[in-house]
């Protein structure tokens, strides 16, 4: 049994397995700690095997080396002499662990740099290394060692909606095949004196090519396999996997056959409201997520008309009671001016769109009251408002991503041809989407362009079939293309019957901003298409033009 080649083979397979894992991580910050851990573990086990120590001892030494490596690299301040673990070390490691837990639950995949996450990943890959080394050289079962690679792929599988990428899958297959063949080549098999037969190379190449081709191509063309007990994009401890953005989440909710009551509310004027949670304005990422940095701490700023300059005319009070609610954002009608019943701790709000965020997400059973004031604007006022496209403060809402498909920009120009002002242009876009596009919440997933990011928009424009997660960004991007500042709002549709807000009535719509002039005291914004009806028995787009006005100047966010 050749120890050195087998350990090099293990290192290579783990590296290939990490290619798949890299899909869930943003950047290469994790490569160094993980690599150092694995190399240390494999060096120690190789030396132990070379000294012909018993197999159980080698495994124990590997685990000890792992603990040592983790100590030195992540918690060396809390260890004796920098590398000897003490009880203090373990508490420090525990803190890092829980820190990584909260980081993971707050952030969305792919994950950026975080020391706790680095410790977690190093521990995971190190354990996988020890396991694979034991399986391959100790038990001489190469098939079992391949399970280790599977363990590395679990990370992207549970966090990304697309699960393991093609590259990750291909790399993992090559790693598994290398383990199976290499174990026979270098003698790590249970049967004695088995060596590969002559002429094996052409056969091996044929098998590798065939297996790669089938495994990578067939799932993409095979229909089905997108809904079941635990589909891709699901997660164990929360409703969805960390890499699932709000638009994709809408699709998941809409496809959910089970009806779950999220919250119920009553309003002082007896009318159902659009309960908005968050807005999306950055369309440059592959998966659209709301902005969670640069938020104002505490909720006092919302009540202050200096920091929240919307008009306070015709206030309406809504009392919201949570049932089974797991989001980070508060549902409130636009535009909120005061929140009560939830205190200040742990809340922050976004001055630009007045959404309210909490790092903690479980609000089930809670209740709060929000006072909101809807902007008033008439179509005539909208038409005569000046275009706000050149307004610097709204520049964020004008930004067009580089990856935007040509079909969106050309459709925008085509639909708005002949409209004279922003309001009419917005109306034209809305009608165009309503008349020329189909609603279907299952087809995009089945055909591989489920809503969530920019990737799905091109195919949506081609097939002209999609759901709220497609219509809303399409509207927003087309509006931006013709010079109207726009963003996507995510929330719950009003129902006729007050009180019950069901998950199935989630929808997204794209409010479009029109302003009346750079120095005007009032601005009007037009809420546009409600791209999805309440439930699937009413397919088709039901557009509604909603008008809001916001008074006061918009102050740049701090």
């Amino acid at each position: 049994m050749a120890i050195i080649p087998l350990h090099v083979l293990l290192l290579a397979s783990i590296a290939l397995g990490c290619v798949g894992m890299a899909g869930a991580l943003a950047g290469f910050w994790w490569v160094l700690p993980v690599a150092v851990t694995v190399v240390i573990v494999l060096l120690v086990t190789a030396a132990a095997r070379w000294l012909r120590l018993p197999s159980a001892v080698v495994t124990v030494l590997g685990l000890a080396a792992l603990i040592l490596a983790l100590t030195v690299m992540h918690v060396s301040d809390h260890a004796l002499l920098g590398f000897i673990p003490t009880p203090d070390t373990f508490t420090a490691a525990g803190q890092l662990w829980s820190e990584s837990g909260s980081f993971v639950s707050r952030q969305s995949a792919p994950y950026g740099q975080n020391p706790g996450l680095a410790l977690l990943l190093s521990a995971l890959v190190g354990l996988v290394a020890v396991f694979m080394e034991t399986a391959l050289l100790g038990l001489r079962m190469a098939g079992l060692a391949c399970v280790g690679i599977l363990a590395l792929l679990v990370v992207p599988a549970l966090t990304l909606p697309g699960s393991v990428s093609m590259w990750g899958l291909g790399a993992a297959i090559i790693a598994a095949l290398a383990l199976l063949a290499g174990s026979r080549l270098w003698g790590a098999t249970r049967q004695q004196r088995i060596a590969p037969t002559p002429g094996g190379l052409p056969r091996a190449l044929l098998v590798i090519a065939g297996v790669l081709a089938v495994t990578l191509l067939v799932p993409t063309v095979m229909p089905g396999f997108f809904s079941g007990a635990f589909p891709q994009g699901s997660s164990f401890n929360s409703e969805r996997a960390a890499g699932v953005g709000p638009l994709r989440a809408v699709g998941q909710d809409l496809r959910e056959s089970e009806r779950v009551q999220r919250f119920s509310y009553t309003t002082s004027d007896g009318q159902p409201k659009y309960m908005r949670l968050m807005t999306l304005s950055d369309f440059s990422q592959s998966e659209f997520f709301p902005q969670t940095d640069n938020l104002e701490e505490g909720l006092d700023g919302i009540a202050d008309s200096e920091t929240n300059p919307v008009s306070r005319e015709n206030p309406v009070t809504s009392k919201v009671t949570f049932e089974d609610y797991n989001e980070h954002w508060l549902p409130a009608p636009y535009a909120p001016t005061e929140f009560s019943g939830i205190g200040n701790e742990g809340w922050s709000w976004n001055p630009r769109d007045l959404s309210v965020y909490s790092a903690a997400s479980d609000m089930s059973g809670g209740t709060f009251t929000v006072t909101s004031s809807a902007p008033q604007a008439t179509p005539e006022a909208m038409r005569s408002a000046a275009s706000s496209g050149a307004n610097d403060e709204l520049a964020d809402y004008m930004r067009l991503p580089n990856e935007m498909p040509e079909s969106i920009s050309s459709a925008a120009r085509q639909l708005t041809d002949g409209a004279g002002n922003d309001y009419d242009r917005a109306l034209a876009l809305q009608n165009g989407l309503r008349h020329n596009f189909q609603y279907d919440v299952n087809a995009p997933l089945a055909q591989g362009y489920d809503a969530g990011g920019m990737d799905s928009m091109e195919q949506f424009m081609e097939t002209r079939t999609g759901y709220a997660g497609h219509f809303a960004p399409a509207m927003a991007l087309m509006a931006r293309e013709v010079g109207i500042p726009a963003r996507v709002a995510v929330g719950y549709l009003p129902r006729h019957r007050l009180g019950i807000r069901r998950a199935a009535s989630a929808s997204r719509w794209a409010p479009v901003t029109l302003t009346r002039g750079p120095n005007s005291t009032s601005r009007a914004s037009v809420g546009a298409i409600r791209a999805h009806p309440r439930h699937s028995h009413h397919p088709g787009v039901r557009p509604r033009v909603r008008q809001r006005a916001r008074s006061g100047r918009l102050r740049p966010a701090r």
Partner: protein, 458 residues
């Protein structure tokens, strides 16, 4: 106890099957497919495709790309005597476009070339047990020894080669039908010196009566061979060469005799026994051993033996197939070859020849073989006995050793031969050959029973 004859070309199934790992992969693929359907995930579907496609593609690859393996078997020596060992060597070479003969001859495997194939060698049960080897592809031979206990012609092999795919999920058995022949010559026994000529002679025989005296002129010598009588040692030549040298036969002083080994199956009733792949009986084996011993004994003692089978053909020399050789005479030079040639002696079924067309008679007449005749045969029928009597009319004397099989009753043919003047020795297969030899002149009945210990035969 009869057993079916081993066929000359045993074919072995060449089929591929999945290993344990292969079956595990297939089962896991099915389970994962079910899981993918239940969970609704394409990544689990990809996993099940990987698990399932690996064994399937491997077997496809095995079917499309045959392993390039050539198995060569060699036996050294190709002909042995009963009880001696023969070494069988198996060599494996890649069947490649470029000649790898050079590589095959190098001994020892390099670190690059640690490939080996599993070979299952089928060995004739009479030679030993079936063997399993791992033969390296570098050409280094792997060998085993066989020690045949019975004379005959043995076919070594066939071998089956087990090859595996590089990922260990499929195995395939390839048959290597090439077989190698091992010839086993009978062992000769020492026979008693009979002193003056013991082959019966009557008057008119040109053969000498008295023992020949060593003549000093024109003597050719040869090396001493085990069994040569000491009186034939040529001391002067021995001193010169530094090793024992023996006088070769002087043709003037040689006696002549005719030895006929009956190889007709009908003349040897008895239980079928296999001498390797040759049909035989136990009695025939006794006869072959007796023939070999008598041939060896007589040729050492200045006798030229004309060795024939019952069809008048010469007994084969060496490992040449029995041909219609002109020269049936066997002198002490060629005696060893004829003894070796007896490895091929087999029973052939043929009808009794007519008196008019008897090839034996033809041969006797053609070569004027009137010398004393010794016939070794089994339980003859009356008709066969009469035929021999007719054929041997010209011989000065006739003796027959008849090997009887149970039930040991005196056959009618014995009486027929005796009344014609032959001396008849009736033996069983357990009779000592030497005892039969000494009784040739006078005839005897030496029907020894089987020994008390089971399984032994003389």
């Amino acid at each position: 106890m009869s057993k079916t004859a081993p066929t000359a070309e045993a074919r072995v199934d060449s089929r591929a099957k999945f290993t344990v790992r292969g079956w595990c992969f297939l089962v896991a693929a099915v389970v994962c497919l079910a899981a993918a359907t239940w969970l609704g995930r394409k990544d689990v579907l990809a996993l099940s495709l990987f698990l399932g496609m690996l064994p399937l593609f491997s077997s496809l690859a095995m079917w499309l790309i045959k392993p390039r393996v050539l198995l060569k078997r060699s036996v050294d020596p190709a002909l042995v005597t009963v009880g001696d060992a023969a070494s069988v060597a198996l060599r494996v070479r890649r069947r490649s476009q470029f000649s790898s003969r050079r590589r095959a001859e190098t001994s020892g495997s390099t670190t690059h070339d640690r490939a080996a194939v599993e070979v299952h060698e089928n060995v004739d049960p009479q030679l030993g047990k079936n063997q399993d080897f791992s033969v390296p592809v570098s050409g280094v031979p792997v060998g085993y020894t066989v020690r045949p206990q019975r004379r005959g012609m043995y076919e070594l092999g066939p071998a089956t080669v087990r090859v595996q795919d590089p990922f260990g999920v499929v195995t395939e058995l390839l048959d290597v039908a090439e077989r190698t022949t091992l010839q086993v010559a009978p062992d000769t026994e020492d026979l008693t010196e009979l002193g003056a000529s013991r082959v019966r002679e009557t008057g008119g025989d040109p053969s000498r009566r008295a023992m020949p005296q060593p003549g000093p002129d024109n003597v050719t010598t040869r090396e001493y061979r085990h069994g040569d009588p000491m009186r034939r040692v040529h001391w002067a030549a021995s001193a010169k060469h530094g090793e024992l040298m023996v006088r070769q036969e002087d043709p003037r002083s040689t006696r002549k005799a005719v030895l006929v080994l009956d190889m007709t199956q009908e003349h040897w009733p008895g239980e079928r026994v296999w001498a390797g792949i040759l049909p035989s009986t136990e009695e025939f084996e006794w006869g072959v051993r007796a023939t070999a011993s008598i041939l060896d004994h007589l040729t050492r003692r200045e006798t030229v033996v004309f060795a024939l089978d019952d069809q008048g053909r010469a007994l084969p020399h060496g490992d040449m197939e029995s041909t219609d050789q002109r020269d049936t005479s066997v002198s002490d030079n060629t005696a060893l070859e004829v003894v070796h040639g007896l490895a091929q002696a087999a029973l052939v079924s043929r009808p009794e020849p007519d008196a008019a067309t008897d090839p034996l008679t033809t041969r006797f007449d053609r070569e004027a073989l009137t010398h004393p005749l010794l016939l070794i045969t089994g339980k003859l029928s009356a008709q066969a006995a009469r035929r021999y009597v007719t054929a041997a009319k010209g011989n000065v004397a006739g003796s027959v050793i008849m090997v009887l099989n149970p039930p040991m009753t005196r056959p009618e043919s014995a009486d027929i031969l005796e009344t014609s003047g032959w001396s008849v020795v009736l033996v069983s297969r357990w009779t000592d050959i030497d005892a039969a030899w000494t009784s040739i002149l006078d005839g005897a009945t030496l029907l020894d029973p089987p020994p008390a210990r089971p399984g032994s035969s003389s």
